[in-house]
């Protein structure tokens, strides 16, 4: 069992316990003839805890397959992408759709794809323009205008 699997197993067990306790105490189990709000979540919470524990127990010996979650440097591009999407969300309401989208594509091309500056700027402008025409002009989706409002 790899380190990643062990962490996930423990997290799942803890979530299951938290759900079960919350279902039983706050939501209410009800009775078997008149099940309450907590009845079904309790079943699932207990289920997640039990199954995760069984899973950890069964696969505890499979040390042979214990690979790290990421091979060397493999995590860099996905995690960068997560960061850029986070920045996009933060910017969206603040500066509006157009500026945040162009920033997003610029960052993506530069940090994730390592494109050259010229190509990066070209792709960003074209992509943002296409998205704007498609969603704002054609489909009339109300997107945040930000500082242009």
């Amino acid at each position: 069992m790899s380190k990643g699997e062990r962490i996930l197993g423990v997290v799942l067990i803890l979530i299951g316990i938290a759900v079960s306790v919350n279902s039983y105490t706050a939501l209410g189990f009800g009775s078997i003839t008149q099940p309450g709000s907590g009845f079904f979540p309790l079943i699932c919470g207990v289920g997640v805890t039990t199954l995760s524990a069984v899973w950890m127990f069964i696969s505890r010996k499979s040390e042979t397959k214990s690979e790290p979650l990421w091979k060397k440097g493999q995590w860099i591009r996905p995690i960068t992408a997560v960061g850029i999407i986070g920045a996009y969300i933060a910017l969206l309401e603040l500066v509006g759709y157009v500026l945040s989208t162009i920033t997003f594509v610029l960052l993506w091309q530069f940090l994730v794809e390592h494109e050259k500056w010229k190509k990066t700027i070209m792709i960003s402008v074209i992509m943002t323009a296409c998205m704007y025409i498609l969603f704002v002009q054609l489909l009339a989706v109300p997107l945040p205008k930000g500082i242009f409002a």
Binding site: N22, F40, C44, I85, L92, I123, P144
Partner: protein, 502 residues
């Protein structure tokens, strides 16, 4: 007779200008995502759901989404044969013999037989759907709460037990899916469940946010790990039409594949992947020259490619008659219909005949469109692979972001999307498949309400699920399948331990 009348009315729906256009668009998009590795039909349907949310014709939207789903089965074979890159999961097995045929200069024959087999099987599947669905829907009218509980539960469990992945992980994903669906106000008691004080969670989490995160975004993160470099070997494709000898070798494989696909497709979790593997194994067993399999046997392309198309047609049967989606892509189509106020199930045929018959008729038309799109234009589709992921990736991210934002003009939804994307990414890295979670999420209200109602009916006795004939049979079938699986697993482990001992 009623069936034929229904089908005729379906054709009048499907042949209208708008619906023809959307069927074509669906087939076109489906073929494109089938060709592109790293973008499956489930992810694409989730990308298009926001547009469907905004359409106000349920028939048109299901015609579009269905087109993507069965179109992907056609497109998947192209890259498997030419580049040994399965465009989607159901075409993995086609790589074995299809690529070998291409290496021997017979790519055209492989592509031709795959497209023709797909067409025959797809049509056989739709014919089966046409005649099986109406009586099944009528039968399902007798179902009460206990039957629905047994059916959804057995369906979900079969989806986990038959897909071949880890069962225990699948079960955990089902429970997790139900718990995510429980977030928000309990419709029966009005109590808040798991909202953590966020008022924005009171209405629960939208299916779209979960589906786009678990399938769309997480797929991007997974693809970013590898530097994709598709190598283009501009091989000559050769003649597209199979010779008489090819045809003689593949016609029975196509027919057997169609039948296997049809029956496997109806079973939850069966679907396209399992059916293509089953067909490959069967063809190898029946062949007079099993040694040719893996070295370019045409039956090894014809059988599986037919099977996955028949399965994609027949997997609409449980959706249209029982209201049970039996795989993740169908679950998304289910969600698309729900948003438009159409609940798939036994009443669909009488309440929304335009949806029921319209989509079935469009599948006949779509299969013809796909044959035309795929056979002569195969060279065009291969060019699609030249679109670099550096362009495709950010476009998909932007589409998911706008799609979830536009649900309620709420950037909180994009935050949830990103959270589910990261969770999905990690879960998929650890081999937890998101399919069962998506299915459980969409079925959760049905399971919970039918369980509560059944317990009210029976005064709290669980025996109600066993003593009523239909639900009792369902549970018996499930128990039989599980015992069979455990027995098969036991035999296999005994065999391997014997092999090790020798």
């Amino acid at each position: 007779m009623e069936t034929l009348q229904g089908l005729m009315s379906g054709f009048s729906v499907a042949l209208s200008g708008t619906n023809l256009f959307f069927a074509f668009l669906g087939c076109l998009l489906g073929t494109a995502v089938g060709v592109l590795p790293g973008l499956g039909p489930s992810a694409t349907i989730s990308l298009l759901l926001p547009i469907v949310y905004a359409m106000n014709s349920p028939a048109t939207s299901i015609i579009l989404l269905a087109g993507i789903f069965y179109g992907a089965m056609y497109g998947g074979s192209t890259t498997s044969i030419l580049l040994r890159l399965p465009g989607e999961a159901a075409s993995v097995v086609t790589c074995l013999d299809g690529y070998q045929m291409a290496q021997k200069g017979r790519a055209g024959a492989a592509l031709g037989v795959a497209a023709i087999g797909s067409f025959i099987a797809g049509t056989v599947g739709v014919i089966g759907l046409t005649f099986v669905a109406p009586p099944l829907a009528e039968f399902a009218l007798k179902f009460g709460a206990p039957e629905y509980f047994a059916l959804t539960l057995v369906g979900l469990l079969l989806a986990v037990f038959l897909t071949g992945g880890s069962r225990i992980k699948g079960l955990i994903m089902i429970m997790a899916g139900i718990l995510i669906a429980n977030i928000g106000i309990d419709p029966l008691t009005g109590k808040e469940r798991f909202t953590f004080g966020f008022y924005k969670l009171l209405n629960g989490i939208d299916f779209l946010v979960l589906a786009m995160g678990m399938f769309g975004l997480s797929e991007i993160f997974l693809t970013l790990e590898e530097k994709l470099s598709a190598e283009f070997t501009t091989k000559k494709i050769g003649k597209l039409f199979p010779t008489l000898k090819d045809w003689a070798e593949s016609k029975w494989a196509i027919l057997r594949g169609s039948l296997i696909g049809f029956f496997v497709g109806v079973i939850p979790g069966g679907g396209a992947v399992v059916s293509s593997l089953t067909s490959y194994a069967l063809e190898k067993k029946l062949s007079k020259h099993p040694e040719e399999f893996g070295n370019g046997a045409i039956a090894g392309v014809a059988g599986p490619e037919s099977a996955n198309n028949a399965a994609s047609s027949s997997s609409f049967i449980p959706l249209l008659t029982l209201g049970i989606p039996c795989n993740a892509a169908i679950a998304m189509i289910y969600a698309g219909l729900l948003v438009q106020g159409v609940t798939p199930g036994p009443f669909l045929i009488s309440e929304h005949p335009d949806v029921f018959w319209g989509v079935i008729a469009s599948m006949y038309i779509g299969n013809v469109m796909l044959l035309i799109l795929n056979l002569p234009l195969v060279g065009v589709w291969v060019q699609l692979l030249k679109v670099p992921f550096g362009i495709l990736g950010p476009i998909i991210v932007l589409l998911t972001a706008i799609g979830t934002y536009s649900l309620a003009n709420e950037s909180f939804n994009i935050v949830l999307l990103l959270i589910f994307g990261v969770i999905g990414y990690i879960l998929r890295k650890l081999n937890f498949e998101p399919g069962p979670m998506i299915m459980a999420f969409i079925l959760a209200p049905l399971i919970e309400n039918s369980l509560r109602q059944s317990l009210l009916m029976s005064n709290g006795s669980m025996a109600i699920f066993v003593t009523r004939p239909i639900s009792g049979t369902l549970i018996a079938v499930f128990v039989a399948v599980v015992i069979g699986q455990i027995y098969a697993g036991y035999k296999r482990s005994k065999k391997t331990s014997q092999e090790i001992a020798q």
